[in-house]
Assembly symmetry: C2
Homo-oligomer: 190 residues x 2
DNA sequence: TGTACATCAGTGAACGCGCGTTCACTGATGTAC
DNA sequence: TGTACATCAGTGAACGCGCGTTCACTGATGTAC
């Protein structure tokens, strides 16, 4: 097979990022090879470097895309809720729902790679920006009870982190339930 | 240099686990090679396999040791406090204090490795047991406000996780502060 | 106590494997006339 | 519209490097007589 059209090539590039985003979130960045990604598209590894300078450059884009999707998802939840407090509680509720592994929260999915030495600078800064963005979105426009919202954010991430790392021991599910009911109770008392 | 005495060999074995525990916590399991560890003892990589079957076997022991140390540290904090609620607040407070990187909380330090595909079964089960143990220790013997304690545990881990992954952006420090003051406030109102 | 032998902790070089990356090549696409 | 040429997306083999692990070997330690 020879050359693709320019338009086709651009589509392929996007598809690489999309596939990478899903594979990385499901298996972890370091467990997914460039070859894995290209194979999942029915292509060979060599062509990858016609689109990206390095794997790190791809990770950067995959991280950015993942955070964008998560951000849109959260925005959709918030839109369906009334005030900002209810929105936070709804996000927590959704956050603990089982989702396909390739849609794992990017804050959790890419943390292992970002924390390791092998993480490139591009991926790190994209992660930083994405995490901050989700945080700001969660806090929303409720400066009055900001401290409480911060705690709930930490609790949500913490419980999600434990579930992700230990894949659902019983006690972790209890922690998630406690966080969820606390989030909704806080809302009710506002 | 030839053979060491039996006693010396046992000491060396312990020292390997100790060094590994520190290096793994500081740089991450996958960033530290068997050769790194042995070199830090002034030895060569080959001798490692006289003590351990595999790197995974070492990781298992390093994880166990790390959790043991963390557990003892928490116990020391709890002993200095009055009731169980105060103990939890004190642990949160200590948890956010800056510590040498080679003493990073094992729940955070080994999470990336455990979550990845490359993690061996030995390391995983040791991690699982250690995390559960620390959780039980945090909750302590206060069944009356267990749900609140669970939330604070999740918040503590979540804020610590963010700090570990993002190494201290300003907003993360704010989250830590919010969790800490909430933990102590909860205690006061009990 | 001294001697001969077996054991085995540690050495250092080499192996094997996986993965990121490179490179010469192919042939369809795009372009200039 | 047709032809000749340049471009370049994708191929597939190979390279280079790092790391976990193996192995023949060394020489001090431990043991049997």
């Amino acid at each position: 097979m020879g050359r693709s059209s320019h338009e086709q090539a651009l589509q392929n590039r996007s598809k690489i990022v999309d596939r990478a985003s899903k594979l990385f979130r499901k298996f972890g960045v370091d467990s997914v090879t460039v070859s894995d990604i290209m194979k999942s598209m029915g292509m060979t590894a060599g062509g990858f470097y016609k689109h990206f300078d390095s794997k790190d450059a791809l990770v950067r884009e995959a991280v950015t895309l993942s955070f964008e999707q998560a951000s849109n998802f959260w925005a959709g939840i918030a839109e369906g809720s009334g005030n900002a407090g209810v929105a936070s509680a709804s996000i927590v509720q959704q956050y603990f729902k089982r989702r396909p592994p390739d849609q794992t929260c990017p804050i959790l999915a890419f943390a292992g790679h970002v924390a390791s030495e092998s993480a490139g600078p591009l991926a790190c800064s994209a992660y930083r920006a994405g995490a901050k963005r989700l945080f700001a979105q969660f806090i929303g426009k409720q400066p009055e009870c900001k401290q409480n919202a911060e705690v709930m954010f930490a609790a949500m991430i913490g419980a999600g982190f434990l579930a992700h790392t230990l894949n659902d021991d019983k006690w972790v599910r209890a922690v998630q339930a406690a966080v969820e009911t606390t989030a909704t109770r806080n809302t009710a008392s506002d």
